[in-house]
């Protein structure tokens, strides 16, 4: 973990995207279809970033888009799918054809692995997790071994950390104090374990606004290196309390994917728009809001 930069951290989206290098391990905040840093993911795809390893508690549309854009080489997660909308077609195909490598995670391998990294220890134990499963075969770094003190058999989880963490939030101030809104998941662990943590926020707020918001700050300034103002930056996933999940947008993407129209989706929504403002204009155009 590197020293954190002092002072205002406001950064333009494209500059922040350049903080991610080809081959990086990128930690993604939020959960499945909620508060995912989609705007940042689109910027990574537009920048042509390659060979990324994604580390996320649960993955959904963000990993699907990165896989479709050819930016992903490895996925480390305990779930990748689109919840009630079904399997993620691009990820599924990439996994079945070994176009991307899947490192099979569980909730513990990520939550305890991140904590081990934060504690600067190589492994953290639990009692009987994974006993009787095939995980030990496909994850040789996951170990069943006795407690060195008492001799009790325990399951040992290796430390894991991203180099860069990306977290989307409703509010952040220019110093990096961040209000997460809902669903904290493992975001503070990701932010602290990463060498570089980037927050994209719906709105840049004052420190007082963040202090007074429900639950207070989820990330404190020292945990954050760069802050990008990015309205609509979670769309089509949700950003509580600002906007709900765009079910129709993702359902239409999936219908298109069944007809092999994913390249057209990427043209329209990822590579086509010159900016996220233009992305939002296209989303509104296709939602046909005026007609309702």
């Amino acid at each position: 973990m590197s020293r954190r930069r002092e002072g205002p951290k406001l950064t333009a989206l494209d500059d922040a995207a350049r903080l991610v290098r080809d081959g990086d391990i990128v930690g993604i905040g939020g959960m499945t279809l909620y508060r995912k840093p989609m705007g940042f993911v689109r910027a990574l795809a537009r920048a042509g970033t390659k060979d990324l390893t994604l580390l996320a508690f649960t993955c959904a549309f963000e990993a699907e888009i990165l896989a479709a854009a050819g930016a992903l080489s490895t996925l480390r997660t305990c779930y990748f799918g689109l919840e009630f909308l079904g399997l993620a077609p691009q990820l599924r195909r990439a996994a079945e054809t070994s176009a991307i490598r899947i490192v099979e995670e569980t909730e513990y391998t990520i939550a305890l692995g991140l904590q081990a990294a934060l504690m600067c220890v190589p492994y953290l134990p639990s009692r009987d997790c994974e006993v009787g499963t095939d995980y030990f075969r496909i994850r040789p770094d996951l170990r069943r071994a006795p407690c060195p003190v008492t001799g009790e058999m325990l399951t040992w989880f290796p430390a894991v950390a991203p180099r860069v963490a990306i977290i989307h939030a409703p509010l952040a101030d220019e110093h990096g104090n961040t209000w997460l809104g809902g669903q904290h998941c493992v975001d503070s662990q990701l932010a602290m374990a990463a060498d570089v943590t980037i927050v994209t926020a719906e709105r840049i707020a004052t420190r007082a606004e963040i202090r007074d918001a429900q639950g207070g700050a989820g990330l404190v300034s020292f945990m954050v290196d760069a802050v990008v103002e990015l309205p609509g930056g979670a769309h089509p996933t949700s950003c509580y309390p600002d906007y709900p999940l765009d079910v129709v947008h993702i359902a239409r993407y999936l219908k298109g994917a069944r007809r092999r129209e994913t390249p057209a989706y990427l043209d329209r929504y990822v590579n086509g728009p010159a900016s996220e403002a233009e992305y939002l204009a296209r989303v509104l155009e296709d939602r046909d809001v005026g007609a309702r």
Partner: protein
């Protein structure tokens, strides 16, 4: 006793799940699994007002009933949540201490892609792990939680030989031999319970199902209880609360649909939700600010 014919297969499963819930239970939800969730909420609205739901969508404990929704389920749980947790809390504090029964009666109805006669389950791949025929989303926290849970509940909306297999393609959660405690499986054909000797036993047939049908659709041998327990459909009151207050869009039916059909259904349901107008207004406002 015969079930009223006006109940759907999903409602039969809801009824069977509801029967297992006691007041004061802590109910673990899955992600995007509206069928068991509708049963959990129905329990809170009827005989189990003290039951608490652990909602992964929202990362909250919710202690009250409310309607299901596709786009705004997260907003509902967050607005009604009485305690917000992180997944570090869940994995480091609740799972090791609470699930083995030290605190609270925890219940989770999980949906296996494959299950065998000893209650082992697979939610990772169909076919060999290294070159899968179907890559599934993954088993999330099941390999961590199942080994320590005091009793394991499962549901399978489509009871067939793809789900009830002789041999799993991958073991993502253990069964009896490795110390896990599988207890009950609810399907569209039957309610089956693991007997004291560890053998899976057909206890109840769903309305219209036969023993032959259950056997034909299971790739391992089943024991049948000498006296079957008659199926108990939802009461008139339970049915009304479910259909009118908790799940008026019938999201509980979604797990029975696949492919394009399912997507079209979801798209139509979502477009008709009030959340669509909420999203329209929010995106319009945001787009103006972003320009």
């Amino acid at each position: 006793m015969s079930a009223p014919d006006n109940q759907t297969s999903a409602e039969h499963l809801v009824s069977a799940i509801l029967n297992e819930i006691e007041d004061g239970d802590v109910l673990l939800e899955g992600i995007g699994t509206f069928l068991p969730t509708s049963a959990y909420i129905l329990a809170q609205a009827t005989h189990a007002p003290e039951a608490v739901r652990l909602c992964p969508v929202g990362n909250v404990f919710v202690a009250e009933p409310h309607p299901l929704s596709l786009a705004e389920y997260e907003f509902e749980t967050l607005r009604r949540g009485m305690y917000r947790f992180t997944y570090w809390d869940v994995n480091a504090s609740y799972l090791p201490g609470f699930i083995p029964g030290r605190r609270g009666k925890w219940k989770e109805f999980l949906r296996p892609a494959q299950v065998d006669s000893t209650g082992r389950t697979n939610n990772v791949v169909i076919g060999p792990y290294e070159s899968p025929k179907v890559r599934l989303p993954g088993a999330a926290g099941l390999p961590d939680g199942v080994p320590v849970e005091p009793a394991l509940y499962m549901y399978v909306p489509r009871h067939d030989r793809n789900a009830f297999v002789a041999k799993l393609d991958f073991v993502s959660a253990p069964g009896i031999e490795d110390g896990a405690k599988p207890h009950l499986i609810v399907t569209n054909l039957a309610v089956m319970r693991f007997a004291r000797d560890g053998v899976l036993e057909v206890e109840t047939l769903m309305p219209g199902a036969t023993i032959e049908e259950v056997r034909d659709n299971t790739a391992f041998s089943l024991r049948v209880r000498s006296e079957l327990v008659p199926f108990k459909p939802l009461t008139e009151h339970q049915l009304t609360v479910l259909r009118r207050d908790i799940d008026p869009q019938s999201l509980r039916d979604l797990e029975f649909f696949v492919g394009e059909d399912r997507l079209s259904r979801i798209e139509a349901l979502a477009a008709a939700e009030s959340s669509t107008a909420v999203l329209d207004r929010a995106l319009t406002r945001i787009a103006q600010r972003a320009r």
